[in-house]
């Protein structure tokens, strides 16, 4: 079996890490002072620039053992406690109780959303109690919970410039006995964007060759990012349904993700009737995607795919000219931001459901819109708020504003009414003296 060059040329010592001198120095200092303070470190930054390599190189430099818990394993709370927990409290085979072991938690920003949501808590606990050094590795620093961030020393890794990547590529070529054009190497180094991709590209291009020319690189690989834009161009500007469809097949995206790309960019290209027709096709495609989910029949992806490519393509009445800068879908970001809003909405729906004896779903889709217009009058707003015992966030949601003095006053008035009503009923039932 052929070994991956990214593994074969993984730096053995910190001084072999290319770029990121500041981060490497910080990491080294952290390791040397570890023990006085048992804080864990977070190495964060874009993928493929040597975070994991730095962790292993560090362990090698310090003569520490390593254990890695990566995302391919199921990182449930139980597993983290059992494996990392044991590792964090135990010495080593060679060094006994004073032997050090580096615990590497790769993709630490990816723990939430894993099967067990206790994962983050387990890691925070682990970091607090550890007797061994821990390194967390993540892409986004702010994707991690605040508690986790506060418990760790952050060390940022930045993009490695292509002029630092090129010498490494040259060294690899030399080592593998490959004759490579300077221009070709330069192109590989600049195009890839990060060290790992550059090495992978080089290996892929060098497969079965002893000499690499610039032409080999130009027709080479790494086009997924570009081609998603190409496929959209084919859909929005082209007129050949077959080409659009086949182009979408070559993408490394499934229809469920790809539909968001089209959804995002359709209004940038089509206007007026074309836009309406385009969305008509897209919504039909979405119906198929829903059926795929419900029936677990992935064969229906075929129709979804055809509707979103050929269908959208055929929706335009004339050719669209001019350059449009396509954007990646914002839906996931919005969904994340909308999460707190959804929580509020659902809690209103629950309250309505209780009051009106309807399901939360019905309340959400059928009743909340009415409530929104009812609440526009302040007097009825107070009445409804009192009736459903809404809190300030919920009132603000229905009025489509943020919590301000108006909301405050509605809420106060409503609460007063609730108290009065309660007192009244106490009196009615002989509560008064």
């Amino acid at each position: 079996m052929m070994t991956a060059w990214t593994e074969k040329y993984r730096p053995e010592t910190l001084s072999d890490i290319i770029g990121n001198d500041k981060a490497v120095t910080e990491l080294k200092k952290w390791a040397e002072n570890w023990g006085i303070d048992k804080k864990a470190a977070i190495l964060y930054g874009p993928p493929g620039i040597g975070k994991t390599s730095a962790a292993y190189a560090l362990a090698n430099d310090m003569a520490w053992e390593t254990i890695e818990l990566n995302a391919s394993e199921q990182r449930t709370a139980a597993v983290i406690q059992k494996i990392a927990g044991s590792a964090a409290q135990t010495g080593t085979f060679f060094g006994g109780a004073s032997g050090r072991r580096l615990i590497i938690l790769d993709e630490a920003d990816n723990i939430y959303g894993n099967v067990d949501q206790g994962g983050v808590k387990a890691i925070t606990e682990l970091i607090k109690k550890t007797n061994q050094p821990i390194v967390l590795i993540a892409n986004g620093y702010y994707d991690m919970s605040k508690t986790l961030r506060w418990a760790c020393k952050p060390i940022q890794f930045r993009d490695v410039q292509s002029r630092s990547i090129i010498p490494l590529l040259l060294r690899i070529c030399h080592n593998e006995g490959i004759d490579c054009d300077d221009k070709a190497i330069e192109l590989i180094g600049t195009r890839a964007g990060d060290v790992r991709s550059a090495i992978n590209d080089l290996q892929a291009i060098a497969q079965g060759r002893k000499k690499i020319h610039i032409e080999d690189v130009v027709t080479g690989i790494r086009d997924t990012k570009e081609s998603i834009f190409d496929v959209m161009k084919e859909i929005f500007k082209g007129s050949d349904p077959k080409r659009a469809l086949y182009a979408s097949y070559s993408l490394d995206e499934n229809p469920e993700d790809f539909i968001h790309w089209i959804d995002e960019n359709l209004p940038l290209e089509y206007k007026g009737d074309d836009l309406a027709k385009g969305f008509e096709s897209l919504s039909r495609s979405d119906v198929f995607l829903g059926r795929v989910k419900r029936r677990q029949n992935y064969g229906l992806w075929k129709y979804a795919g055809e509707m979103m490519t050929c269908g959208v393509q055929a929706a335009k009445s004339k050719k669209h000219h001019g350059y449009v800068a396509y954007k990646p879908p914002t839906i996931w970001k919005k969904m994340g931001q909308a999460k707190s809003v959804r929580v509020v909405r659902d809690s209103i729906a629950t309250k309505i459901g209780k009051h009106c004896h309807v399901s939360q779903r019905y309340a959400r889709s059928e009743l909340i819109p009415f409530l929104k217009s009812i609440l526009k009058k302040k007097e009825s707003a107070i009445g409804v708020s009192a009736m459903l015992d809404l809190n300030q966030n919920e009132i603000a949601f229905l009025l489509g504003t943020s919590v301000d003095s108006t909301i405050q006053s509605i809420h106060d008035a409503a609460q007063k009414r609730i108290t009065q009503a309660t007192e009244h009923s106490i009196e009615t039932f002989g509560g008064g003296f």
Binding site: S86, Q89, T90, F93
Partner: protein
Amino acid sequence: MVFRAVIDADILKDSIEAISTLVDEAKFKLGPEGISLMAVDPANVAMVSFELSSNAFDSYESTEGEIGLDLVKLVNVLGMAKSSDKVGLELNEKTHKLSISMGGLSYTLSLLDLSSIRKEPKVPTLDLPVKATLNGNDLRKAVKAAETVSDHIILGVDGDVLFMEAKGDTDQVRLGLTRDELIDLTASGPARSLFSLDYLSDMSKSLKKVNEITIHLGKDYPIKINFTIANGHGKVGYLLAPRIES
């Protein structure tokens, strides 16, 4: 590669369970002389070494080679066997499967890809000052008693006494075994180390039926536990790294 063998269900069960307490998947080395294995647990704190000589089998035939087995599945399969059963094992190299037959049942177990199994650990050469031989059940008892008060245990030697001590937040257990109560004790230096009971408890499960075990101890150093299985035709060795006292 050829591997064909028949063995008592009991012996095979004991052997596999001695390994499966630490690892779920393992790589066995097969050879004309017998089978062997070396594995480390996922946390990298406990190691097991295992040897079973061809003499432990009723019949045995094998060439050199390696196979990867899912021990969880294997233990389940062997759970079906009666202790008086004979288990037949045969490797089918083409289909990459191990067929297991016993008392009319026949299973085929898919082998694991060797590259997917954790690498064999590097084995340290440790010169530990204390060597004690004792009844397996004594250690098991100490571990069980310790578990009632704490999650870790101190093992050490004080003069002529091998002691095991566990301290909880409020309670404490101590078991002292004098030279007379042990089968043998030699100490050329001080020994006192702290261990996780989770692991010791897993390891001591296999000690139930073992009359004689040898343990090696040092000061804040790993513990080595060695014993024989299969009427002396097999050897099991555990190595457990010490806990860090905080």
